[in-house]
Structures are given as structure tokens and as C-alpha cells.
């Protein structure tokens, strides 16, 4: 069986339980695919020996759970004990954590196998993977016969590329403004950002703590349900982690959404939206209607202000979180000249260690928090954030169960194509996803069609807080109707 790495988590789980397959076989198949896929630059730290040891242990455990023996890729943002964890930044070069993030601890305790660490935008700041110190990951999809390499999206671009190219069965991602859902849409896979507080942030390198959430990136909705359950749960080490029971999300996948009310927000119909995205959206709406849902037009009036609010709040929190990279306790320290004191050490270390996008955001954050501007920018953005959340609360109170939107304004774009645009153009990638982080809601991207060049396009469903099971079931219904089965042609 040479196609083992193409298996879904659910298929591998069942085959492993029946004894038709061992985790060692499955892991070796993935490792061999990773070796052949250097051109995708998805895996940036490979851990083949560790993977085989973990697979052997999983095979020896006859009572393993759903994730037992399942080979995964782990985003470089997660601290993994003894394995480089750099957040794709030069400032964390050589950093090997002495501890394991809660998410990876839970996955590994459940028998999951780590194949290695995955590429991403530096500190998760980016939408194209081009800010990575490792160089960009590459999308396995191409525009027909065009040889141009495309972005897998960002920030979880390595995770997206690896799952779409079948280098692993699934991967972890993180999402601060769309970093799971945008890359998932760009490569034709499923990605869910859970409700803020569902998954522990402990041991995940912090970007913007009030927005960051980790989630699974998988080959279908069922796998997302299985893996999300394994990642979720209360963690005393993350004070914002919710002390709520984790439901069996897979059991919620009935495919029955009769009577559910799906909202279509008029503010997401952006000026200049491509006809392909518009068609994808109306097709998705029709699919949910055919499945028995009621479709209702809704309004989320503050949508337009989500990106500007995000670009105050996220840089502000980043400037504070990234203050810890000072060249003292871990990572890079600049070589100092004679007479340099501690201030020069900080300034040179951070100038050398951070890439340009990270520097830009740290400085914007510093500015909006500085004396005299805190109220005008930061406090105003937090008030607008409260209004954005209230928009959602209002429609949910009116009986809306889920909201359907496009996941991204376009299909994947070419690497380097945005190089000459101003940063704001790149930020527009997150225009449909960022509201969800600001409001702390669960959101899922599901592949739903192809554009005229044969590239995948995704739809996003947004759910009520803590109702990921219900959201996953709606996504599952959409997935079954859309029947997206296309795969990239192998060129790597």
C-alpha cells in the first residue's frame, strides 16, 4: 500500500483498530512522502526517529483512542520538548523548549505521532507564508499548466501544504485573524478555529493573546471533529481556557440540519467581489437550503471596521508579547561592539532577529499603546470590537444558528505577487475571517468548489460560541452536498 499517507484520520483509525495496518507502516509512508516533497518546503524540522518511536508505542497500545497511531505535522508555533520551536523566526534560532505545549501533550498522550514541525509566517504574522525565516512553503496546487508557484496561504501555510499534499494525515494550526481558515481554503482542505477558550494556548508562542486559538487542519469535516476533540479541554495553565466539558464532536455529525436557520450577512458582499466567489456563495446557500435549512438575510453592521480594529488590537498585543525576545533567556543575541550596554543588546538583537513584517507590527503596536495615543487608538479599537461582537450576539438572539460566508476574497495567489503592494492589500485576505476572532466565535472553512484555473475555493461557516458540534454538523452537510474531491496534480 503506497497510498497510506492519503488516508483520513477516520479511515486510519478504523484500519489500525482492526489490525489491518500498523502505525509504523503509516508513519513510514508519511516520512517517505515528506522526503520526496522538499520542493513544498512544508516540513522545516523533521523528526523521523521520534516519529518511529512514537508509532511503535502506539502499536503496542491496544486500548488507544481515536488519535492513537495517527501521524501529524505540528505547526512551528507549538513548543515541542527537545525539538526546535522557532515560530519561523530568526530570533528563536536554536530554541529547544524544555516543555511541551498543552495541545501537543494531549495529542501525544492520546497516541498521536509527530512527523516534524511545519512552516508558517514568522510569529504567525502573514497571509502567504512569505514572512517565514525558512523561506515560504509552496501550495501543491497550480493554475492549470502554469508553472508559477502559488502561496499555500498563511499563517498556517506549511500545515495547509502538508495536509493537501498528503505528507501527513492532519496538522495543527493556529488562527489569530484567519490563519487556519484562509490557508485551508487556499489548498482545498478543512480547518476549524474553535471558540476562544476551547483549546489551551499554553506552550503556543503568543502573537495576540485575546485572539489566538489553535485548531485542526484536516482532510475532511469528520477528521476535524475527531482531532478537535483531542485538542480541546480545560487547562489550569491557561487562565482563559474554559472549564467546560468537551462533547463528542464526531457524534454530532448526523447530516441533518432541517429547521436550522442559516444567516447570509449582506456586509460580506464586498465591492468588487469576483463572480466566482459570488457563485460559490450562492451555490453553498442553495445546498444548505436543499438540506432543509431556512435561509435568512442578516446584517452585521460593523463588519467594515473589523480589519482596522484588528490592526490595532493584534499589533498592540504582539508588541507586548514579543517584548520577551530580548536576547537574554532564549534565542538569538546580537554580537555586541565594545562599549555596548544592555539597551544596545536589546536593540541590535531585535533588529537582527525579527523580520520586517514582525518589526512593522511590533512598532505599530508600540505606537498605538504609547502615551497620548492609547485612548484614540487602542481603547477605540476595543470599543469597536465590543460592537462587532454585539452584531453577532444580536443575530444569534434572533434565532440564527450559523452564518455562511466566503472563506477568502480569492483563490490562492502567486508567491511574490503581492511583493509590491502595500501591507494593507495583504491584510484584506482576512476580511471574511477576522470578525470571528474579534468576537471569539468558532469558524470553519470547507472546500466547496474550483475557480476557472482549477484552484480550490472555500466557504466559511460561523457558529454560536461553544457549539462547535452543531457547526461541524452544518459543515458536514455542506461538505456532503459540495462533494469536493479534487486533488492537486503531483509535481513535487
Amino acid at each position: 500500500m503506497s497510498d497510506l499517507s492519503k488516508l483520513k484520520i477516520s479511515e486510519a483509525r478504523d484500519a489500525l483498530k482492526k489490525g489491518d495496518l500498523t502505525s509504523v507502516e503509516l508513519t513510514q509512508a508519511c516520512l517517505s512522502e515528506i522526503e520526496k516533497a522538499g520542493a513544498l518546503n512544508a516540513f522545516v524540522h523533521k523528526t523521523p526517529e521520534l516519529a518511529i518511536d512514537m508509532a511503535r508505542a502506539a502499536d503496542a497500545n491496544k486500548d488507544g483512542g481515536d488519535m492513537n497511531g495517527i501521524p501529524l505535522g505540528i505547526k512551528d508555533l507549538f513548543c515541542t520538548k527537545g525539538v526546535p520551536s522557532q515560530a519561523a523566526s530568526g530570533i528563536l534560532a536554536g530554541f529547544k523548549p524544555e516543555y511541551e505545549s498543552t495541545v501537543t501533550s494531549q495529542l501525544f498522550a492520546g497516541g498521536a505521532v509527530m512527523l516534524g514541525k511545519l512552516n508558517m509566517d514568522e510569529f504567525a504574522m502573514g497571509s502567504s507564508n512569505e514572512t517565514s525565516v525558512y523561506g515560504n512553503a509552496v501550495n501543491p496546487w497550480k493554475r492549470g499548466n502554469d508553472v508559477a508557484e502559488l502561496t499555500p496561504g498563511g499563517s498556517s501555510g506549511g500545515s495547509a501544504s502538508a495536509v493537501a499534499a498528503d505528507l501527513c494525515l492532519a496538522a495543527t494550526g493556529t488562527d489569530t485573524g484567519g490563519s487556519i481558515r484562509q490557508p485551508a481554503a487556499f489548498v482545498g482542505i478543512t480547518g476549524i478555529k474553535p471558540t476562544y477558550g476551547r483549546v489551551s494556548r499554553w506552550g503556543i508562542v503568543a502573537f495576540a493573546s485575546s485572539l489566538d486559538q489553535a485548531g485542526p487542519m484536516t482532510k475532511d469535516v469528520r477528521d476535524a471533529a475527531i482531532m478537535l476533540r483531542a485538542m480541546s479541554g480545560h487547562d489550569p495553565k491557561d487562565s482563559t481556557s474554559a472549564d467546560l466539558a468537551v462533547p463528542d464532536f464526531e457524534a454530532a455529525l448526523t447530516g441533518d440540519i432541517r429547521g436550522k436557520v442559516i444567516g447570509i450577512p449582506k456586509e460580506y458582499r464586498m465591492d468588487g467581489m469576483s463572480s466566482e466567489i459570488e457563485k460559490l456563495w450562492s451555490d453553498g446557500t442553495a445546498m444548505l437550503k436543499d438540506a432543509g435549512a431556512e435561509i435568512r438575510d442578516i446584517t452585521l453592521p460593523h463588519t467594515k471596521y473589523a480589519l482596522p480594529a484588528y490592526y490595532v488590537i493584534a499589533p498592540a498585543e504582539a508588541s507586548s508579547n514579543l517584548a520577551r525576545y530580548d536576547g537574554v533567556r532564549f534565542g538569538h543575541r546580537a554580537k555586541l561592539d565594545a562599549g555596548d550596554g544592555i539597551t544596545e543588546m536589546y536593540e541590535k538583537t531585535r533588529a537582527e532577529g525579527f523580520g520586517s513584517e514582525v518589526k512593522r507590527r511590533v512598532m505599530i503596536g508600540t505606537y498605538v499603546l504609547s502615551a497620548g495615543f492609547y485612548d484614540a487608538y487602542y481603547n477605540r479599537a476595543r470599543k469597536v470590537r465590543a460592537l462587532i461582537k454585539r452584531d453577532f450576539e444580536t443575530v444569534f438572539a434572533d434565532g440564527i444558528d450559523a452564518i455562511l460566508t466566503p472563506a477568502t476574497p480569492s483563490a490562492a495567489f502567486g508567491l511574490g505577487e503581492m511583493a509590491d503592494s502595500d501591507p494593507v492589500q495583504m491584510y484584506l485576505n482576512d476580511v471574511f475571517t477576522v470578525t470571528v476572532n474579534l468576537a471569539g466565535l468558532p469558524g470553519i472553512a470547507v472546500p466547496a468548489g474550483l475557480d476557472k484555473n482549477g484552484l480550490p475555493l472555500g466557504l466559511q461557516l460561523i457558529g454560536r460560541p461553544w457549539e462547535e458540534g452543531d457547526l461541524l454538523n452544518t459543515a458536514y452537510t455542506l461538505e456532503r452536498a459540495a462533494q469536493f474531491v479534487a486533488k492537486p496534480n503531483r509535481w513535487w
Binding site: 550596554g341 544596545e344 531585535r350 512593522r360 505599530i364 505606537y367 477605540r380 479599537a381 469597536v384 470590537r385
Partner: protein, 95 residues
């Protein structure tokens, strides 16, 4: 609002990021573009709205004030660029 070179220099200093003098004009231009984007927020009526402090309506948990971890100086120092005699080492701070 347009950011001048002096403000760009001050922000870089506050952020403890060395920016060569020659790069300050470009940096100031980028800041101005970003702030121009952010200033759309001024259109919103926020009268009487409290700034959000927590996205989920929860009280932060309290825990007993006891030592739960520690005694790992070797692990703590293992990633330090410069550690000596059980301490992080930095350039001279006090004259």
C-alpha cells in the same frame, strides 16, 4: 494622520528595535499608511460603549498562592545565549 521621521525614530526606540537613520523615512511612510487605514475607526459611534476586556464572559480563575513548579535551574538556563554560574549573563547594566 501622517507620521514624521522623528516620531518613527521615537517608536523604534520605544520598541527597542535598532532602525538605521536611512530607513526612517520609509518607516514613517509605512506607519502613515497603516494609521490611515486604522483611522476608519473614527467613523464609528462608540458613545457609551465599554472597551472589551474579555471576549468570553468569564471571570479569570483564581488559584491558591502556592509554589507549583520550580527547582529547575539547568532547564531554565539551557536556552540562554549566555549563562554563567547559574545565572543569565548580560552586558554591564549599572555603572
Amino acid at each position: 494622520m501622517s507620521i514624521d521621521i522623528q516620531t518613527a525614530r521615537r517608536v523604534a526606540k520605544l520598541a527597542r528595535i535598532a532602525v538605521p537613520e536611512a530607513d526612517l523615512p520609509e518607516l514613517a511612510k509605512e506607519f502613515s499608511a497603516m494609521l490611515g487605514f486604522i483611522e476608519q475607526l473614527n467613523e464609528v459611534d462608540v458613545e457609551g460603549i465599554e472597551p472589551m476586556t474579555s471576549v468570553t464572559p468569564q471571570r479569570l480563575k483564581r488559584r491558591t498562592d502556592v509554589v507549583t513548579d520550580g527547582g529547575q535551574p539547568v532547564e531554565i538556563l539551557s536556552n540562554a545565549p549566555d549563562a554563567r554560574e547559574g545565572f543569565f549573563a548580560v552586558p554591564k547594566v549599572v555603572e
